[in-house]
Point group: C2
Chain length 352, copies 2
DNA sequence: TTTAAAAATGCAAACGTTTGCGCTAGTTGT
DNA sequence: ACAACTAGCGCAAACGTTTGCATTTTTAAA
């Protein structure tokens, strides 16, 4: 027994990976016994189990997930695709997805799309190649065709979308009520006396931005405010887009007295332009963003925004995945979970 | 031929995964032929290759990376461990690591430590379990014992550290010159007339913060400024830490006329307290942060900071990994790449 | 002591892919 | 016609782990 051990410790110096076979050889048992002992199988005696587990520890045995996944058909990996990284919303969603899934023995693979359709397609291929057990995703801004997402579905792999989903896809979805969020924002701005409310919209081929705009339009109507098409401009909602659009609004003969931007980065750009032009915020022009990015509370004045409950979204997305795993039936209807958002009023739109 | 195809198309409806065996069966060739045809092996005739590749396309064949990695001993995955997610610095490093490695056929697995030692250990275990070909990491603030990183090394898996490294580990490293960066900051503050410069330090058990503090101390001496220990406070460098420490500095009988914070989040917290207390920045107290987080340019006044060249760090870290793969010899010396940082002067410390 | 039952293993094959070496059919040269 | 060579495959085993079923060993009862 000790001769065998010494022989194998020596072997360990040159070849770094310990496998079940190595343990089996040292102890003079079969690999299946080692596997069963490591997995506390009742068919293995206590004595053998202890010997195997101690030897595994001594030889630095590390289970090989590749082999396990190949054999079992399950990798216990979940791919999480997000469109951008430097965003408090997506960071928080990822964190909460991870917490829920880690508890159930899953690990996540984070894939970043950088708002690019091509990168997104590469990510999906990589994740499928890696045999993930499921994919949780939010769609990149550049993405119009959803063929790649359909591909996931066709392979029978659970797909859950959050925030940015797609009407054409019959898959599970978690998001907030974009339409109603706009109502809340417009009501708030109307309540503080605003009458000419402009909207920096995202691309309306993206469902969430379309709903935010529909909400904006209907809320204006509800409050008997005239709809001025020149006060609606679509953009990619980056800081530079917010700056450009805000400049356009300032050049109008009829200036707005409030601006609702469908994303916080665009709101930040708009704020920068307002301050640079000596416009008093919120006295002359009030400002509301969307998504509660961290910086909205750092800047001056702090920006009012919509809290999208990223924690809840992350948790719910992970739970939907786990339910899909437990009920693999393809015929079950899809879930759409819509969470009410919340307006956070700060200096940029506060009533004085 | 068509009977075989129809039989298999039918089979595809129920079992979602197409393997090389399925293609082999339809075409009446062996699995090894299919594999070779898919990999453009010269041992396979053009006719067979085309037939195989077309059938693979028709049957929706997706290579199984698990099997490939198991067979070859290489997963072409690289684990990237970062301590926090909502940071422009780490986001940018990750993005640049990914770009370089994707070009070489590698995919990355991002693991977040949330500044926790325990989470970091779990991440390392998960990555080893997943048979990554290498790990690129920045150490969590809570981590003192480096045993888990040693474990990576002992398994012969390439390990590259960036930014936050460890003196005890003989591994490749990329970072900036923290000592010299402090000199640059102090010189700048001295040039604008500051005489009582306080330092919000990170934990000095972390090498980078220790070097930043040493640089601070030596730069004061170099400029014949008196060192006041009450103007140095260690902290975790979060926003709330910056607030707390700044409040302490404001309560001193001898107030500082400048504050150098070893991280931008702490600088932001300090700025908030200064503004809340009606202190004019930079006229009464100048402020400099570290890391060039996005928000440093959004807030008012914009915060002077150190640009850590995250792009270069990411690229270099990935390149060091690739070199390790090309030269697997264990005896080669480790690389330490130190990049000069750059001071970005903004409103918080600008000369008027 | 013998027999039967229970406990504790071991064998073989599965998972998907790749690759060294062997085999076969066809072609070319003598 | 025969021998040698080459192109184009196929066989079998590797990679690490798990699991159904068979086999062996141990224990208890007659």
């Amino acid at each position: 027994m000790y001769k065998r051990l010494r022989k194998y410790i020596k072997k360990m110096k040159t070849s770094k990976k310990t496998s079940i076979k190595d343990i089996a050889n040292v102890l003079g048992v079969s690999p299946s016994t080692v596997s069963r002992a490591l997995n506390n199988n009742s068919r293995i005696s206590y004595k053998t189990r202890v010997a195997v587990q101690q030897m595994a520890e001594k030889l630095g045995y590390q289970p090989n997930q590749l082999a396990n996944a190949l054999r079992s058909g399950k990798s216990y990996l979940v791919g999480v695709i997000i469109p951008r990284n430097n965003s408090a919303f997506f960071s928080s969603v990822v964190e909460n997805i991870e917490k829920v899934l880690n508890k159930e023995g899953y690990n996540i693979i984070i894939a970043l799309s950088y708002e690019s359709y091509e990168k997104e397609c590469n990510n999906i291929d990589s994740l499928l190649f890696t045999q993930v057990d499921g994919i949780i995703a939010s769609i990149a801004n550049e993405t119009i065709e959803l063929d790649y997402y359909r591909k996931i579905k066709e392979k029978g792999i659970p797909l859950i979308l959050f925030d940015r989903g797609g009407d054409d896809l019959e898959v599970d979805y978690v998001g907030i009520d974009d339409y109603n969020s706009s109502h809340i924002i417009i009501d708030h701005l109307v309540e503080r006396g605003c009458k000419k409310i402009a909207h920096i919209s995202g691309f309306s081929h993206k469902r969430i931005y379309k709903h935010r705009m529909m909400g904006y339009r209907d809320a204006l109507k509800k409050n008997n405010l005239k709809l001025n098409e020149r006060l609606i401009i679509e953009s990619n909602l980056r800081i530079e887009d917010g700056r450009r659009v805000m400049k356009q609004f300032l050049e109008l003969s009829e200036r707005p007295d409030a601006v609702y931007a469908a994303g916080d980065f665009a709101a930040l750009g708009a704020l920068q332009v307002l301050l640079e032009n000596g416009v008093k915020v919120p006295q002359e022009i009030a400002l509301v963003g969307f998504s509660n990015e961290s910086f909205t509370s750092y800047v001056s004045p702090p920006i009012s925004t919509i809290n999208q409950h990223s924690e809840q979204i992350g948790k719910k997305a992970a739970e939907l995945f786990l339910e899909r795993i437990k009920n693999p039936s393809q015929e079950e209807g899809v879930s759409k979970v819509i969470i009410d958002a919340q307006l956070i009023v700060r200096g940029s739109s506060d009533k004085i």
